[in-house]
Symmetry: C2
Amino acid sequence: MILPTFNDIKEAHERIQPYIHRTPVLTSESVNRLLGAELFFKCENFQKVGAFKFRGACNAVFSLTEEEAAKGVGTHSSGNHAAAVALASRLRGIKARIVMPVTAPDIKKKAVAGYGAEITYCAPTLEARETTLQQLIDKHGITEIHPYNNFRVISGQGTAAKELIEETGNLDIIMTPVGGGGLLSGTALSAKALLPNCRVIAAEPAGADDAYRSFNAGRIIPSTQPNTIADGLLTSLGEMNFAVIQQSVDDIVTVSEEAIVEAMRMIWERMKIIIEPSSAVPVAALLEKKIQPEGQKIGIILSGGNVDLGKLPF
Amino acid sequence: MILPTFNDIKEAHERIQPYIHRTPVLTSESVNRLLGAELFFKCENFQKVGAFKFRGACNAVFSLTEEEAAKGVGTHSSGNHAAAVALASRLRGIKARIVMPVTAPDIKKKAVAGYGAEITYCAPTLEARETTLQQLIDKHGITEIHPYNNFRVISGQGTAAKELIEETGNLDIIMTPVGGGGLLSGTALSAKALLPNCRVIAAEPAGADDAYRSFNAGRIIPSTQPNTIADGLLTSLGEMNFAVIQQSVDDIVTVSEEAIVEAMRMIWERMKIIIEPSSAVPVAALLEKKIQPEGQKIGIILSGGNVDLGKLPF
């Protein structure tokens, strides 16, 4: 298995720069005071489609040869990755076929259709999703863009940490949430290349702690019945992601559901920005003192801002 | 009555620059598409204390002579102005006495006390507030900082539009909400000085339309039983504010409660930032086509972001 390097992230950055937002890095004196550290928040909640996912999808779509592009791309996803692939494809002017479970939220279906992608509905199981996508691949010769276990996707996600570090300079710690590991692996590659002494620490809900267990066991242990409000973190680690994580991540910590909601509310109230529960997971780790923040300069990637305002946890 | 000029706003800006946030100007392609204009949002929801009010309070507090400062300042307010005066006073190291109605939300009382101000509670009527404040003035010789009908406060509020225009360059229209008129009068002074052809348009809830009626009648007509979700806009125009508005504001339009909630939700969902209902009022005017936005470059000052997350209108 060939893993991406920081060089691939630099190439990805040049490739996607015309299409992505260079999102701001925000700070908050009151949050710093409450958590006892100097925090720098990379606001991927302001990224196109409302999540960092657009970076990886964009890099994958714009890396295709003309021949591949002509056949189109496909993926299965009920969430942000589907919208990201759909928008990136529209920007390149190619066809995107998205497999979505019939149970996906209407707002997500609408977003994907609104970007001009073709949706194929399937039963809400991983097997049905994979089978349906395989049929589309066999029939149309489309290129699959996996949401995280993909060289180009990891390279694209790594551009968020690259931008963050370009803006902040030295950091003692850089933190992300971890689900499939796309953001974490890309972040670790950028961090270790640009700041060799910076520690890379991921945070994960205790109710979906497959990355924590895999990291400590030294082999991938898939999720069984994950349960957390952080709905972006339900997936299990990908192989390519895990290989990078083993090489370059310093620690993975877990947090409670209560701390996730408290951290989310703190960021909304103090910083006046909307983040989704998954984004609050690293902040929750600081709240619960899972790492010692005192006097540290810590960069946190806020992964996304897509929440259903009708179903808030407070 | 001597009115402030743009020169006073420039002086205010130099005075308060070390203390305020230079808030970002955000744009959103999807909001532009929905409203049919090119919009530039000046994010005073990210200002200290969560509202533009800090600019005016800061200018008033730091304009005091040493002798005045030694005696302290005072105001009556149940909202953002109270917190703004309290924080500005703490930064200058002087005493602030705030008269608050006993009915003020706990969170506001805590914020003011947290900044080290001394709170005097009174009955929840304008008369009780004014009498109580006058007693403090008589007893302690404090300087009153009125929330909007005040030369230094207007000059401070005008710095938000100055920063906005410095960043955007030419604008066809600049919009603010209007309550007492502090933000609107300061904005109009900056806009007309920097962009003589820019139209200044205020938006006001139809349920609290004293500024609209006063503007059209040519004399101040105070609010009677104002009723709107935009709780920052319940007050009636101040005299100094009205004088500036008559000279420099091009139009005032009114909007429905439904449009305010819809506009607020649109900004939350599309821009991932938290704005309070008052901030959504100019956006509501575009939604309701109270002005023709097509092809215009429009600057909008988002006045604040203090909302009770437990009592959202959606």
